[in-house]
């Protein structure tokens, strides 16, 4: 565990030390805050729009974090950073788990910052925060783990630009096929991803009550799916020749 956390620490520190991350978070919060001015343009729907925009932008941030891992791992492999680490008593699976944990922590911190920032904006604008909105943001944060796992998988089987495209496609696929594949047991949500589990943006924006039980199950699904994706990734990675 120490070794996994050591790799994770290097990863999330790297991302969270990028000033551009904080600039983007600030831009997102400012963008969402500016929606307060859209009351005329939206016929008074600005509150709903603000809530939904914050969730949509937070989801985009989560997807960007997941895609960033598809550049991070090949870059480390190419530059030799991974070689240095793997020459230490660190298994390849441990390395991948460490990268996933690190990127997930970075993702949780970034999405958490956006969520908290937006809650502050919302309190300033409307004096209260809807619980459904907080739950929506928690679900977005939960989606970081399985999406990053998909990023890890493609980063070990494909070169980085292709891995990024494949990850984006799978994230899109996982959000889009619930109605088609949703009824097929084992396949959907077991083998293929069901990221729609985390997509209750509309419900949150409309302040529909979401049970905490649902959020817990969704988070567990995310972790469980990440484990299965990681096992596949590790199988590929353990056979890979590192340059």
């Amino acid at each position: 565990m120490d070794r996994i956390m050591a790799v994770a620490g290097g990863t999330w520190r790297r991302i969270l030390r990028m000033p551009v991350v904080y600039f983007l978070v600030l831009c997102v919060v400012a963008l969402v805050g500016s929606a307060y001015r859209y009351n005329m343009l939206s016929l008074g729907m600005h509150k709903t729009i603000m809530m939904d925009t914050s969730l949509a932008l937070n989801t985009l941030a989560a997807i960007l974090v997941a895609i960033s891992i598809t550049f991070e791992i090949p870059r480390e492999l190419r530059s030799g950073v991974a070689t240095t680490l793997l020459a230490k008593p660190l298994g390849r699976t441990q390395y991948l788990v460490g990268k996933l944990v690190g990127i997930s922590i970075a993702g949780l911190v970034i999405t958490g910052m956006i969520g908290v920032g937006f809650c502050l904006v919302f309190i300033t604008a409307f004096d209260r925060v809807a619980m459904s909105m907080v739950q929506g943001h928690l679900l977005v944060m939960g989606s970081v783990i399985p999406m990053c796992a998909v990023g890890v998988l493609f980063s070990v089987v494909a070169p980085d630009p292709l891995a990024a495209v494949l990850t984006a496609l799978v994230i899109w696929f996982g959000h889009s096929t619930a109605a088609v594949l949703g009824g097929i047991p084992v396949l959907y949500g077991g083998i293929t991803p069901d990221f729609n589990i985390f997509n209750l943006k509309a419900e949150s924006a409309h302040e529909v009550a979401i049970s905490w039980w649902y959020i817990l199950l969704a988070t567990l699904w995310g972790v469980s799916f990440a484990v299965s994706v990681l096992v596949v990734s590790s199988s590929f990675f353990s056979r890979k020749d590192l340059r």
Binding site: D52, S176, I197, K201
Partner: protein, 327 residues
Amino acid sequence: MKKSVFRRVVILVVSVGISSGLASALLQERRYIDISAELGTNAPEGGFNKFIADIQWMLLVHHCGTLQGVNEGNVDDLYRRINAVLKNDPDFTEGYYFGGLLLSVKAPLKSVDILTRGANNEHCASSWNIPFLAGYVLANLVTDEQMPDRLERAERMFALAIRRQSGFPFVRSAYLRAKAKRLEKDGKWRNGIVVRGDYHAFLCSCYDEWLKTRAMQTTHATPAARVGGSSLIAGAELKERMLAVSQQLKIEMPRNKDVRRTINMVVEKVFANEHLCPECLLPYGPGDKYCSHCGHSVKMYGVCSYCGALLHGGDYCPKCGRPVKVK
């Protein structure tokens, strides 16, 4: 098989099993929360349906701002735009209302389509104004040629609006009026009575509703029947409305046989113990032999049956001392 490969296979099988089990459980849970999942594949939007709906909504509002008005030339385009918003955000209550309102005059059928969808969406169940508007459009703007059963549908929509918000009297009036219109259109009421005009129809509809209310109060109806059933308007309100309409009818159609039969039925069944003058339908006091308003002879009450003295309560007559036997 190598130990590490075996370990990987076991972990993979277990995690896939857990994931699929959780996914199935979540799918069930989701059905209670989310209606959107049942409405299409959402494929192009990739989970950003609501966000796209927000943008489409603002574009629609902006587009409406550029229009001189709704007319035959733009009504189809507006309908398409509203549907695009609602496809991406099926729980957008205001979208249904705005869309229905926008199209109500120039395209009432399209308006009814949007409003009915909104009214039937359980996630918009907090909104009473969508079914109310749907009922209004059906009752007043849609023609019988366009939709032969419009009044029955309007009735159902108004009933839905009352169930969601029973505080507004105009919603209840609209319901009763829609019912009355249907009766007027049918022409025949109970006991072979022919419906004569809107006031008469309104009285009939109030009476029907009162019967339903009384039935709910007197019979042992199940709680479900009470909630979803027919007791939409309080009996006292219905009585008040029936009295006012009956009085009006007495003035406007005093000699109409069907109207008189109806009023007599209402007075007999609804106002049996209310001591109303049969002529003017205003209440008279105890001991009165004639109506103080119209002078018509009335059935006396509130006097001792032995000595005819006026009673002021109590068990014995204040004049003859006999036990009270009210006349």
